[in-house]
Amino acid sequence: MASVKLTKVKKIYDNKVEVVHGFDLDIKDKEFVVFVGPSGCGKSTTLRMIAGLEEISAGTVEIDGVVVNDMQPKDRNIAMVFQNYALYPHMTVYDNIAFSLRLQKMPEDQIYEKVTNAAEILGITEYLMRKPRALSGGQRQRVAIGRAMVRESKVFLMDEPLSNLDAKLRNQMRAEIILLRKKLDTTFIYVTHDQTEAMTLADRIVIMKDGYIMQVGTPAECFDMPANLFVAEFIGAPKMNIIKTKLVKENGKYYVTPFGAKIEVTGEKGAELAKRGVEPGEVLLGVRPEHITLAKPGEGIATRLEVNEMMGSELHLHVYTEDETRLIVRVPTISLTKEQREGMTYGAPLNITFEGKVMHFFDPETEKNLLCD
């Protein structure tokens, strides 16, 4: 168990390309932190710098208060699970898990106890004498986790451990990682490009883009108060609708005027705009698909249906407005009658609306949230 501190960490490759630009982060003891971002955002590189698999070009990485910049991976007291499992193909599952313990010259009887314990927790006892090639993807991933578990390291690093699994298995393994975290009770740093994984697993999410941190916060913070347009669009599925519109102020109240409609900004959002004294003008208005509701014909904003995605419990309706702006609306299937559902075909007219308390406002130039510090 340990804290991890990154101070102005940079990664510059030999060809002078800088992929991580001064990364600052304090990870507390026993915290589960998830680095999330699109491909090439530097999340895996940062994790690999913590692991010691990539040289740190500038800045410092501290584990438990000790600067580990010049330490070999083996001396950093970390365990890591790799995206492609990285199991040793010529060894049995038992030998794979026992590998690190044998390198520590631990007595065989202790190794046996640790390996069988780990195998029992992960439900792989019956596969201990098999080679990795005779295992399924999920079983291999469990072995990889078992191999990291027995090291009893201070920090547990996971580099996209579920991305090679099919959707069903991924959900199952995600739940198992949550349970494992409770059992191990250690510091976890987890890398993924899947925002669902990040939201469900993390105590804190670090959202990255092009080597910069876009926001650090709890899943709820990132979802409810995205610091900028990138985070707003990245967190949440389907992604947030962004509408270019005007913020107007009348009689001390704020209104937005998307597509000719006039909607009052209410609730905390309205109060916060007033408190901050936000000047009226052009804004990027963000509304999550689940916060848009269907309105009666003639009310709200007139749109036409382009695509109707039936997701089972809900419909994802892709609609377009008169000025060809595309929006996504998420409607619970149960809220619609059979006739309504059947009427949702290409070109069908749909009126939509949303409440003033669920809006997000972004500066069109800086793309920063107007209500965020």
Partner: protein, 300 residues
């Protein structure tokens, strides 16, 4: 609606396909058997001649007898071999091949691991330089090598250490095949092992080499074979001194104009003796050898 085909016609077509496949297979096998026989004839002749005891017209002449199958069979030629310098040549060859095999294998595998796994300045330039250098025939260096070895006193009866030096000298340049194989082993295995607590050397010995078994065996075999059958360098450096000869040079000496008549059947026996260890090695390791030769190219 597609028309239903007549089942009998389908059956006929099927039978026709089967018959034509059988005919083409038969032709292929007949051709392969003929090629094998042609290929085996010299080996069979050598084995037969090595077991021929009788000499031409009862005289000392052992060759140009005009027939293949011996009239009198025996191991006299093999026994006679051991009364000549042959055991010395054999021992020389064996010592050279074993030393070269060990040293060259170690150098090639280390070189391949380094070039496959480490990134350092001039790496690609070094590889390109070695590739170009490898295009020059080794014979070009023969004269200067002889001069250097002669100055060091490593020629003639001391040719064995000299030859080991010559064969081992450019070992590093033979890294291509094994580097290609190492490249196919995912780097995440090295990284996992390093996180697990392994040093670079432990990664090589505990992870990479066991996974690269075919290529290690391929490297060992080729490293053993090259000096085992070499004639050109060995003849130059032994310089007609029987004590420094290897089997190829020694046996070739028996083929000279004034020796062949008396030594032809012994030459054949010597040839068989040379082939035995290599044949056993190949028979035991052929599975890995083929994997090694093709592994680097196709292993995903």
């Amino acid at each position: 609606m597609s028309k239903n085909k007549d089942p009998q016609a389908v059956m006929k077509q099927h039978m026709g396909l089967k018959a034509s496949q059988r005919i083409s297979n038969t032709i292929i096998y007949v051709v392969l058997v003929i090629i094998s026989i042609v290929w085996l004839i010299p080996f069979v002749c050598i084995v037969l001649q090595s077991l021929r005891v009788e000499k031409l017209n009862g005289a000392m002449v052992t060759w140009r007898v005009g027939y293949i199958f011996p009239k009198k069979w025996g191991l006299d030629n093999y026994i006679a071999l051991f009364k000549t310098d042959f055991p010395r040549w054999y021992l020389n060859t064996f010592i050279i091949a074993v030393f070269v095999c060990i040293i060259q294998t170690v150098i090639i595998l280390c070189m391949s691991y380094t070039l496959s796994r480490f990134r350092f300045k001039m790496r690609t330039k070094l590889m390109r330089f070695m590739l170009i250098l490898g295009l020059f025939p080794g014979m070009l260096a023969m004269l200067i090598l002889y001069r250097v070895l002669a100055d060091l006193g490593l020629t003639e009866e001391h040719a064995v250490p000299g030859l080991i030096l010559v064969y081992v000298a450019s070992s590093g340049m033979g890294y291509y095949v094994s580097k290609g194989f190492f490249d196919t082993i995912p780097k995440s295995l090295d990284e996992a092992a390093r996180v697990d607590g392994a040093t670079r050397a432990q990664v090589l010995f505990k992870i990479i080499l066991p996974l690269a078994k075919p290529i290690v065996i391929y490297t060992v075999l080729t490293a053993f074979m090259a000096p085992w059958g070499d004639y050109v360098f060995a003849s130059y450096i032994a310089h007609a001194n029987s004590l420094g000869m290897n089997v190829a040079v020694g046996l070739n000496y028996w083929l000279s104009k004034d020796q062949i008549a008396a030594h032809y059947t012994m030459f054949c026996a010597g040839g068989v003796m040379v082939a035995i260890p290599v044949s056993i090695l190949f028979m035991c390791l052929q599975k890995y050898y083929v994997e090694g030769v093709t592994g680097g190219a196709v292993k995903g």
